[in-house]
């Protein structure tokens, strides 16, 4: 009885979440069976999924948030490139400290969030067009800051980037030497963000407003919700997360250059969709998005480990998964409409 009383959107969210997590477990288990001799069963292989994708996890959480409102933000890849470049440029050419660099990163993210949020929420411009402009602007500005490839050599920054947090478990390498598993601080930040967004969406007034707007903007308006304000706040938070994610990305790549993070927005969108976020809005969950990112990481990991398959198969596998989830989502939406 309890399940029937819950709002429709939440149970759809829950259902899609179970499918995503199930798929991830299935794929990873298959990998562990097939490639146990090539390190797939090692805990570090699993942790590497988080290490390599920490920035993407944070950025995808922001993407999920705006997608739940029925919007989209395709500027995040460019914002990441701009953040990496400004961070690198400020530290290496202007002698800024690593702490100032964080402020720059978050400031850039917030600035994008404010402008894009204002245009989408208060001027009712299509989010796709607004963020398309953001995409061009971000990439262009990156080139204006510098067209050089800048290596980050700031000592504090490198100390953060290389700071390994050892975990109380590990594995033996083939020479029999025990190697403890480790993560970087970026992973902790990323997981905290997922948790924060999860709580925000599930247990706060803001979260319920976000779902209500995405579910049906008209009725949200008639219910007396401040649609514009909520949308603006969602884009603001999304921008902030893009800035933060960009900084985590910089910690992983330790460099700034124009071509960086090209197509990252598409990775974020596909991770959200695979994680159960409806493009039409109203349904989505950051936990699912986290697993969406992990699924993407697992596919590329499987193909790299296999060693002879072209890495383009990653894209093909992802496209198959996207199709699968879109079909699943359309079944859910059509069911939703029938009930009305």
């Amino acid at each position: 009885m309890k399940t029937l009383k819950r709002p429709r959107s939440l149970s759809a969210t829950g259902f899609l979440l179970i499918v995503t997590i199930g798929l991830f477990v299935l794929m990873y288990a298959a990998g562990m069976l097939a490639f146990s001799g090539q390190g797939f069963a090692k805990p570090q292989m699993f942790l590497n999924l988080f290490i390599s994708n920490a920035g993407l996890i944070v950025i995808s959480c922001g993407m999920t948030l705006v997608m739940i409102t029925g919007g989209i933000d395709i500027s995040v890849g460019s914002v990441t490139a701009l953040v990496c470049m400004v961070v690198a440029y400020q530290m290496e050419r202007n002698g800024a400290s690593a702490f100032t660099a964080i402020l720059f990163a978050l400031g850039i993210g917030l600035a994008f969030g404010i402008v894009q949020g204002f245009l989408v929420a208060y001027l009712d411009i299509q989010p796709f067009i607004v963020s398309l402009a953001g995409l061009f602007f971000g990439r262009g500005m990156t080139a204006i800051v510098s067209t050089d490839m800048i290596s980050i050599k700031n000592e504090t920054f490198l100390a953060w980037a290389k700071y390994q947090i050892y975990l109380p478990f590990g594995s033996n390498n083939k020479k029999g030497i025990y190697q403890p598993a480790y993560i970087y601080p970026t992973v902790i930040v990323a997981l905290l963000v997922v948790l924060f967004i999860f709580i925000l969406l599930r247990y706060t007034k803001f979260g319920r407003k976000v779902y209500a707007i995405g579910g049906n903007q008209q009725s949200a308006l008639m219910m007396g919700l401040n649609v514009r304000r909520t949308k603006f706040e969602a884009y603001l938070l999304d921008g902030f997360l893009a800035g933060l994610g960009g900084f985590l990305f910089a910690l992983n790549s330790c460099a700034g250059f124009v071509e960086q993070a090209k197509g990252l927005e598409m990775d974020a969108i596909s991770s959200s969709v695979i994680g159960g976020t409806l493009l039409s809005g109203g349904v989505g969950n950051p936990i699912g998005t986290l697993f969406g990112v992990l699924i993407k990481g697992t596919i590329s990991s499987l193909i790299t480990t296999q060693g002879t398959l072209s890495s383009w198969w990653v894209r093909i596998a992802l496209s198959a998964l996207l199709c699968f989830f879109i079909v699943l989502q359309s079944i859910i939406t059509s069911r939703k409409q029938k009930q009305r």
Partner: protein, 341 residues
């Protein structure tokens, strides 16, 4: 009741679909499980040396030849198992691939980096795991040189110098030499070395003048675009210095469209780099006057380094591949035919 039933049905459909999806994605895995298992047992017996190679991508013929050279060198017949990863031009993919190689415990990591920057963290991980890293093609910019064992690649500055030396000989005694400089992708090692070579030549020869300098991003389309705009501005171009063959093809198209003559029997002298099969074909046809080779066959050099390391020797930190030059007046059909890439 109907509601519950339909929900259950959807769930069943989803699970069956998911099972299909899972099966589809694990088919390549399953089919490769057998050979993987067999090689795993052989590596256990230390028969095969496992090499993980992270390649930039497949953006040009040169790159494809580079990949083929590696693949044909590190074969099972030669005692190697090659794990190849195409990074699709993305640095983050390479970082992920190297982490994967480390967990697979490959014996050597070969890296053809997309960028010169940003390798500190991941190469430190490789060093901690005790896996030697050999860099090929582009050089990397790291805070600590001990993060890589050796580098194999072209001496781009020497390539530029070779072209300049040829120009000095050909244009000795000319009053003024107007040079159009179509650069490669700014910041790449090839662009930096080849540009430095030309700049040094211009400094040395006071009658040489660069009238236009712009990037063609190593592509034919951009090379043509740059040359078209330069041809509109200047009438008396003597030399076009293209930093790779693709740019030269573009520049030639632009010159042809503008109705000017070029090559051996023309007004504009075309200089190019890379000497790919297509580039040499144009050199033989007299369209490109001088072509400096950029040798992509790194496989044998890398293998030599690995063999030295296997024996416990210390290889040279920097190893340059041998590179030739081709003059349109002396090149033969046989040379062009012998070129595989």
């Amino acid at each position: 009741m109907k509601k519950v039933l339909s929900l259950l049905l959807t769930a069943a459909l989803a699970i069956s679909l998911a099972a299909c999806g899972g099966a589809a994605s694990s088919t390549p895995a399953a089919s490769s499980a057998a050979p993987a298992a067999s090689t795993a047992s052989t590596t256990g017996g230390n028969d095969l040396i496992v090499v993980g190679f992270s390649q930039v991508g497949a953006e040009s013929d040169w790159r494809t030849a580079n990949t083929e050279s590696m693949k044909s060198t590190f074969t099972e017949a030669n005692g190697y198992k090659l794990i190849f990863d195409d990074a699709q031009q993305k640095q983050e993919n390479q970082i992920t691939a190297i982490r994967n190689f480390i967990q697979q415990e490959v014996d050597y990591i070969v890296l053809a980096p997309v960028t010169e920057t940003g390798w500190d963290t991941v190469l430190q991980e490789a060093k901690d795991a005790g896996i030697p890293v050999i860099i090929v093609d582009r050089m990397i910019d790291v805070s600590d040189d001990s993060l890589f064992t050796a580098w194999v690649g072209s001496d781009f500055r020497a390539e530029g110098d070779k072209a300049v030396a040829w120009m000095e000989e050909k244009f000795a005694g000319v009053d003024q030499l107007n040079i159009v400089h179509i650069q490669g992708t700014i910041g790449s090692s090839a662009q930096i070395g080849r540009t430095d070579g030309l700049n040094a030549g211009v400094e040395k020869n006071s009658n040489w003048k660069i009238i236009a300098q712009q990037t063609g991003e190593f592509t034919q389309a951009k090379g043509q675009e740059v040359m078209e705009s330069v041809l509109k501005q200047y009438d008396d171009i003597d030399v076009v210095y293209c930093e790779n063959d693709n740019e030269a093809f573009g520049a030639i198209d632009a010159i042809e469209a503008a109705g000017k003559t070029y090559g051996v029997n023309g007004d504009i002298t075309v200089i190019s780099f890379d000497a790919t099969h297509a580039g040499l074909t144009d050199t033989l046809a007299g369209k490109i006057n001088f072509n400096v080779e950029c040798n992509p066959l790194h496989g044998p050099r890398v293998e030599k380094i690995i063999q030295q390391l296997e024996k416990g020797e210390t290889p040279d930190k920097l190893a340059y591949v041998d590179e030739e030059t081709f003059d349109a007046t002396t090149i033969t059909q046989a040379i062009v035919d012998a070129r595989a890439y």
